[in-house]
Subunit: 342 residues, 2 copies
């Protein structure tokens, strides 16, 4: 490159860099004036979040945590999106049964399929875990991982939630989305740690929450590597690999992340061990539970709910002064106003 | 904040930002003149790396890959550090048997422990996989994950490699460390995907390779969540959870990362399926095999080696024109000159 051109290029690059620097210098001042959690009402819950983030990001302070250790783990069902009237993945499985039924005439007289097709919830429920695994196997295994990705992604964009009449990936909690953004702006790596299937979540988590596939941890089934006409595929087997719920959450956090979170967010007893594991580390910690007490805008349920039962974790949260969020009084809005994922 | 102070602060921040911008503007010019892979001799292997990175980072080019899709997976044993005269983790296990022997007088007359204590490799080998699992169970399970972390970290800093007489975390390949740094400088997320135990690697991978715990994938044993006097621990069970070798590598890549790598690095048949899985994606791909042909500076082995056998993967690399690195002729140096991890 001629010296002149090089110098000119250098001046242009420098000018752009200075403009960028100017913006960077102004941005924090602008940001400081705006509320990072606009959908949260002022109160104890919001304060506990702001206070925690301030403490762990204050350089030289007693609670400072280096950026690489800022791990936050979020349950998904009931914590980031709605889990009523049933877990979204269960709604997907039931829809798949109905869709596949014409190819399986025997389902008309075999439980738990018969119950699903006839809308007989009791009959389905009475088949217990065995029945659920049969439904999972029949609807979500036997294909390659690439094929399942497409099936799940298609359903997630086309199906509508029965109460809110919008796609499920829009039945996410706006205040929690703001919280995710706020934590990431403060150096956090945000993870989902959910009982849901990892391959059912990954098609929508990046768009809905800004969480990339490699930061989604969930329940898994076994897969098998095969060469088909020389092309490698991963075949989904009808065999459970890992249930990422209850004690399975800290187990998988340790196995996959290899660091203990400093903040954890849940809403049910299935999150208790993740919250305990997070609380047991040294230094400042944030344990937060979302309480569904808003029957008008979403649902109200806790100690006796079939999905998202909040009983033991509730008692422990009260006893240990963890943050409990009332959806009714702490959240200005529940869902994003405009479609979040079209 | 008083307006004056605010303005002064603003000016100070701006000045720093401009200095930073100046540095940013100069740095690329400086970097462009320096070789990002100084320990690599010029040749086909080095060129294939540089060419691949240029293609996938050229904005608007036909092979451009967005930053979030730049996933690179590295085998560890024999690809990033030495695996002879035996896998380092096996050396750790044998050392643990000797250390724990006084508490187990029965080991003097029980295989495979007897063979280990008497240096009878044949006797140990004849116990096969069952014997290996017994050794693993006796030395690496029954304690909490925190306790094992300490045991592994201590051994890794204190033990010395028999040939090179330096700690094992210094028997890493300098050219591969440069490659990791170079890929990360070009937006890659670098992962380890190794047959070794994930908990044996994590204590040293960040310091040695700049790879954080959450980007280390390896074989795992099952762990169990327990409350001990109200404090949660994860207990290491004598039960295999996942063998991250051969077909287990793409299975775990899909399960844990959820994206297909665009570049993969290995050295043995245990890496074949990871390389095939990487090669099968669309667009530009880099598949690379490290060939151990340097008996003087390290070791020379391939088709018949007990550790790191390179046979089928070698044939496929040749047939499919993957990059094959000759340690003897492609690498100027093997190990870091100065201690890398003290």
């Amino acid at each position: 490159m001629p010296k002149n051109t090089q110098r000119r290029l250098y001046r242009i690059v420098l000018r752009f860099a200075m403009l960028a620097a100017l913006f960077d210098a102004i941005a924090p001042a602008l940001l400081a004036q705006s509320d990072p959690l606009p959908s949260w009402n002022d109160g104890a819950a919001k304060n506990s979040i702001l206070d925690f983030v301030k403490r762990i990001t204050t350089a030289g302070g007693p609670d400072f945590v280096p950026v690489e250790e800022r791990i936050a783990t979020f349950d998904n069902d009931g914590t980031l999106w709605t889990e009523q009237p049933m877990y979204t993945q269960l709604a997907f499985i039931l829809a798949r049964v109905k869709q596949l039924a014409p190819q399986h005439p025997e389902w008309k007289t075999t439980q738990p399929f018969q119950g699903v097709l006839q809308g007989d919830v009791k009959a389905v429920a009475s088949t217990g875990e065995t029945g659920l695994i049969k439904l999972l196997a029949a609807t979500s295994t036997g294909m390659t991982t690439a094929e399942f990705d497409k099936i799940a992604a298609n359903w997630l964009t086309s199906a509508r939630h029965p109460k809110f009449q919008r796609p499920y990936p829009e039945c996410i909690y706006q205040p929690m989305v703001e919280l995710l953004v706020y934590l990431r702006a403060n150096g956090f790596k945000t993870y989902i740690v959910s009982g849901g299937g990892v391959d059912f979540m990954r098609p929508f988590t990046e768009k809905a929450y800004g969480i990339p596939p490699e930061q989604v941890i969930g329940s898994t089934i076994k897969t098998k590597f095969e060469l088909r006409d020389g092309q490698p595929v991963l075949l989904r087997l009808a065999e459970i690999d890992s249930i990422d719920d209850g004690p399975g959450k800290p187990v998988n956090i340790n196995k996959i992340i290899g660091r203990r979170p400093i903040a954890a967010f849940g809403n049910s007893d299935g999150d208790l061990q993740m919250l305990q594991w997070t609380a047991a580390g040294p230094g400042a910690r944030l344990m937060l539970i979302v309480h569904h007490d808003d029957a008008d805008r979403e649902y109200a349920y806790d100690r006796t709910s079939h999905f998202g039962k909040l009983d033991k974790a509730w008692d422990e949260a009260v006893a240990k002064h963890w943050t409990v969020v009332s959806m009714k009084s702490d959240w200005k809005t529940i869902f994003p106003a405009a479609p979040a994922s079209n």
